[in-house]
Amino acid sequence: MTINPRLYPLLATIGIFIAAYIVCWIQFPYMLSTRVAGNLLTDNAYLGIVAVGMTLVILSGGIDLSVGSVIAFSGVFIAVLLRETGLHPLVVFVLLLGVTTAFGAAMGGVIHVLGMPAFIVTLAGMFLARGASYMLTIDSVPIQHPFYELLKDAYWLMPGKGRLTLIGIVMLLSVAVGAVVAHRTRFGASVFALGGGERTARLMGVRVGATTVGIYAFSGFMAGVSGIVFSIYTGSGYPLATVGTELTAIAAVVIGGTLLTGGAGYVLGTLFGVLTMGLIQTYIVFDGSLSSWWTKIVIGILLLLFILLQRGLVRATAVRA
């Protein structure tokens, strides 16, 4: 039984992650502990969640630049609503997810109806969401609600005293949900079909408009969830938060083995992409002498590596066909 070539990028991602972890472990044996693993999940939870949404967008051949702003908007929205009204956080969450999902759906609609590049449409969305959060407040608004304390402190104590926090669990769940949606539903099949080519997808019976709206709505929803998680993580809402997160998320998706031109990839890969990026940061923190800018450089190198790898794979298949 040979390995299916479509798995190569995913295996490369997982392989790099394991190799990196082994390197870390040899230098700092403590890194192989559930504490470090738990922190890795917690610290990167918001990124992982938003990257799941981004994976679907990229699989369809699109891009969503608005998610960083939407996360910031979510934090501000929650903080201001909790401060100004007596609503329960859960009610606020539902409202928020409604807003961000509708926002994403609207962007998808504009992309489809106007036939303009997703890049520029979601750029407008980015400005709009950031502007909207500024309009709610320009300050960092702390969230003080007993329910929030509860969420923040909720964790499952893993063997080895590592804490798998609630937000870490939410991220893992998001990955699972994303994987099911992408790989086990007809909607997911349509997403891949769009990424393979819109004209052919249409011929095979994909409802392009509805699927496009659905994809960006899903990304908006995930950005909303990510915003909730981020507000739990930081305990506040700040309109200047998570600037540039969309690009980190895109990088994670690519390092996760998804083809940036769309049509090939795995949601699970994105999880490993996020974890690899988190691991590099953790390593640099552990090392202490290395400077944080190495994170960016290493991530850049990984990006280049994966883009070249995929170009090679695409060429190889093209030659055979």
Binding site: P5, R186, A189, F192, G195, G196, M204, G205, A264, A321
Partner: protein, 508 residues
Amino acid sequence: MLLSIRNLSKSFPGTLALDDVDFELRAGEVHALLGENGAGKSTLIKCLTGAYRRDSGEIRLEGNPISPASTSEAQELGIGTVYQEVNLLPNLTVAQNLTFGREPRRFGLVDGRAQRKMAQEMLSGYNLDIDVGRDLGAYSVAIQQIVAIARAVALSGKVLILDEPTASLDAAEVRMLFDVVRDLRDQGLGIVFVSHFLDQVFEICDRLTVLRNGRKITTEVVADLDRLTLIEHMLGRELEEATEHEAAQKDPHSRSRPELLRFEGIGRDGVVEPFDMTVHKGEVIGLAGLLGSGRTESAELMFGVRASQGGRTRDADGPVAHGNPREAIQSGFGFAPEDRKTDGIVADLSVRENIILALQAHRGWTRPIPRSEQNRLADEYIAKLDIRTSDAEKAIGDLSGGNQQKVVLARWLAMNPRFLILDEPTRGIDVGAHAEILRLIHEMTGQGMAVLVISSEFDELIAVADRVIVLRDRRHTGELSGSDVTSDAIVREIARDDADPRTQRGAA
């Protein structure tokens, strides 16, 4: 009768694409649909598959009138189509492609195991031993083609339309595909086979229908038909008179003129077999052959659009480089490609800019052509070629096809090349412009330029060419010159069954 079409008409602004066409397809037959470019084949198929709405006429499937409004509706009715460029998704697995839109589900989720099983069942009987869990793109075009057929048959199951399915297959793959087609025919499907490979039509088809200029010419039983009659049906040439008249103008001694270029062993695997060609000063060479015979590909090899494997080219002064378009232009070549829209015009640029583009690229960016010179060139060619445009600053995309073609011609004339290749120079052009372009070709050669004209209009070749090289199945098979250049002779040359290398009269 499985499928019957009566009095089908379809027009587009300016053209009547289908004019009162009848067509019948029986269950259990393979029926070829033949015709040259613009004959109406693809319009007919698009009306059948719901991509176009017909203007009038009726389509009956098993006796019931149908009018599909979309490809998926046609599919549900029982009409499936497989195109040359496989319309499946190479980035999905074979199983996903086969079951797309009707994936087996459990608890609302796609059941991967059942999906693969379903795919395997769909492929059983096609004699394919492939892993349905792999990406479709990992397999050869032939296998993708068969997967596409399997999907179309499973979805539709009555009528199967194969639109140029063999265009990019090799001989073994064609055999594999034909085995599948025969099996399906024996199972009682009605199969419409569109191809320009006549050998294949004779091999696999039971009956055939020829379309020309949007009209149905004839429907015949293949076994009762010889190749020559068929080609005459397709090309519709009954113009001996005209031919003789034109032939009188030819220069039978074009080959005794001074030699300009000598191509030797130019070719590429799977594109065109290596060929030799000698070009003389001031002569017009025609390339004739059916669609897909390698005409355009020969031109592309000569202009460096595709790289030749081996071979060499010389002129009186030594070797001539044409490994890429820029080298070819340096060597004094020009090439007006067949597809004006994608390869010829730069739509948003003005007529003036399109005319000077090649000349400017040749001079390099540091030596811009002075604006006054640009205007002079533009005005000169607009007048000389009678380009109908309100002014030279109009975007070329807003011009009619004939005028666009003239601008592309002007672009090359401004370069004053010694060897100009024109691929279908009169395609989609009205009659007046047509005659003018032929006149222009004569004018150009009067000044010593050699011109290679590719055309599926034999009248045109006869009118313009001093000699005609005939291609068949990606091979230069023969040559006619002087008074031998007649429609009849070209047709016979194309039809000749055994293209024996010994009869290859190559270039001098």
